[in-house]
């Protein structure tokens, strides 16, 4: 099972990451340098970094598995993600960037505190607790996928796979900081894009061609080609489709993605980055779903649909490409984990240690603690990954939805509604998060598995707006929002 070619490709990839870590290290000696690369990143880097952070191992293993399991019903995920990303870059990114530059914010809690004049740091504490709990779970899920990937491709033990993946990520993230994270995300995003565009181009002809694949799927089960899948136009079918679309909502306000907008060099990078990000996600998602559909014909009867990509890479490509596919799966994992670790570390060191307890500590000392925190959180995630269940898809979605439900409704209200208040933001954030978690634990099964993002978002918006209507917004928040709108100008018209 061990192949010299595969191992060589893997070692070359890991060495490149180590070099990127060393190169990024020049920027990581300050708090702003370590957590947002000094706000100097260009469009290509923020676009690919945003997408490869948002698209974890779930894209390669989970979404190809979805294409395999449900066929064209998975097109709803494409619709949701492409819409989510295009709306985020078009409507959210520029006002958010403008606000964070004005406030000199380098984290999302920084922004919320400044936006709502939260002198008591309540929003900051709530954000940090939510970020830490979700990020550790999310990172653990990704490390789980790392163990699974090494097992599928190289036959290594699950434990060894978890440790190898975590060690490399922790090295380049702590040494290189956000700059290394973002540029490694660019490399990883390009690899993922190339893989997912190439895979169906090779797999569909290998399965006999487009019409043969569709014909075979139709012969097996006509529902595999219908948008509403085996449900048909029924309540469970509609709920399933809406849930699939809902996955893309998180792109509008998840903190690990908003950080990319903060780190952009200027507004021009966001204008260019939006288009790049949309092209990128189309390649990612269409490629993954079509690959899964072709994979069902090539490898019928797989016990775990999430193993379809490793199966295809091993059977359809020469050994060197099998190595490349292992690298791409690792890239998807690493590009998410590194960003989450930096996010969690910034939550502890920037948001709490610096802003609440030790504002006078030196930049160098704080960045050292940032690196130390990264390692500690990484170690916690390793322990969780070794102890937890190995089902990637829903575990990742839960952490993904928890972060999104807590932050997105509040961030969107704060950007677009002058009347949003500090109390509204606090209640909305807690309410969105708690609803998401309780939905999964108590209600999901009884409501046709309705995806928790939807009730979480609904609760977040209702509570933020409802409480804001009965409380007072910061006195100058309205004029401040007008100034931000003037600075960014209209969305679709040239000034």
């Amino acid at each position: 099972m061990y192949s010299t070619t595969i191992i060589t490709v893997l070692i070359v990839y890991l060495l490149i990451l180590l070099v990127i870590g060393l190169w990024g290290g020049r920027e990581s000696g300050t708090v702003s340098g370590y957590f947002v690369a000094g706000k100097k990143l260009p469009s290509w880097v923020i676009a690919f970094s945003s997408n490869s952070t948002g698209e974890s191992a779930w894209l390669l293993l989970g979404l190809t598995g979805m294409g395999y399991a449900v066929g064209a019903h998975a097109f709803w995920i494409i619709l949701g993600e492409v819409l989510g990303i295009s709306l985020a870059w078009t409507f959210v990114a520029r006002p958010f960037k403008e606000y964070t530059d004005r406030f000199e914010s380098i984290t999302v809690p920084d922004y919320l505190e400044a936006r709502f004049r939260d002198a008591g740091h309540v929003l900051r504490w709530i954000s940090v607790i939510i970020i830490l709990s979700m990020v550790t779970a999310y990172t653990a899920a990704q490390l789980t996928a790392s163990g699974k990937a090494f097992g599928s491709f190289l036959g290594l033990s699950y434990t060894a796979g978890v440790f190898i993946g975590a060690a490399v990520i922790l090295y380049y993230t702590t040494v290189g900081g956000f700059k290394a994270v973002a540029y490694s995300d660019l490399l990883q995003g390009v690899l993922m894009f190339a893989c997912l565009v190439t895979l169906p181009i090779v797999a569909i002809p290998a399965a006999g061609g487009w019409t043969e694949v569709m014909g075979a799927l139709h012969a097996e089960d006509p529902a595999l080609l219908r948008p509403m899948g085996s449900y048909g136009v029924t309540l469970p079918g509609v709920i399933s489709a809406i849930g699939f679309m809902g996955i893309g909502l998180a792109f509008l306000g998840a903190p690990q993605l908003l950080t990319r907008f903060i780190s952009a060099r200027d507004q021009k990078q966001i204008v260019e980055g939006g288009f790049i990000a949309v092209i990128c996600v189309i390649g990612f998602d269409v490629g993954a779903v079509l690959s899964g559909m072709a994979g069902r014909i090539l490898f019928p009867g797989l016990l775990d649909p999430e193993t379809v990509l490793p199966e295809m890479s091993a059977s359809l490509f020469p050994a060197i490409f099998t190595g490349v596919f292992l690298v791409v799966v690792l890239a998807a994992i690493m590009s998410t984990v590194d960003s989450l670790l930096i996010l969690a570390s910034s939550a502890v060191v920037r948001d709490i240690v610096q802003q609440v307890f030790h504002p006078r500590w030196s930049e160098r000392r704080l960045s050292f603690y940032g690196k130390l925190t990264t390692v500690v959180i990484g170690a916690g995630a390793i322990i969780m990954a070794l102890a937890e269940v190995r089902m990637v898809f829903w575990f990742v979605l839960f952490a993904w939805s928890g972060l999104a439900c807590a932050f997105t409704p509040v961030v969107l209200c704060s950007l677009f509604w002058k009347g949003t208040t500090r109390a509204g933001a606090i209640v909305g954030m807690i309410g969105g998060f708690v609803t998401c978690v309780t939905w999964v634990v108590f209600f999901k099964e009884g409501f046709y598995d309705l995806y928790e993002m939807l009730p979480g978002f609904a609760a977040g918006f209702l509570l933020t707006i409802g409480v804001s209507l009965f409380t007072e917004a910061p006195a100058d928040a309205g004029s401040e929002m007008d100034a931000v709108r003037d600075a960014v100008g209209p969305v679709f018209r040239t000034r």
Partner: protein, 35 residues
């Protein structure tokens, strides 16, 4: 059926891809000269 896939599935696929591309292209075009 168009190329073996029901037309409803093609519509779903093209709505997703087309809307995203349309929105982001329109946005890029409006701000291409911004600094």
């Amino acid at each position: 059926m168009i190329l073996g896939l029901p037309w409803t599935s093609w519509v779903l696929l093209f709505v997703g891809v087309g809307l995203g591309l349309g929105i982001s292209l329109r946005f890029y075009w409006a701000h291409r000269g911004d600094r």
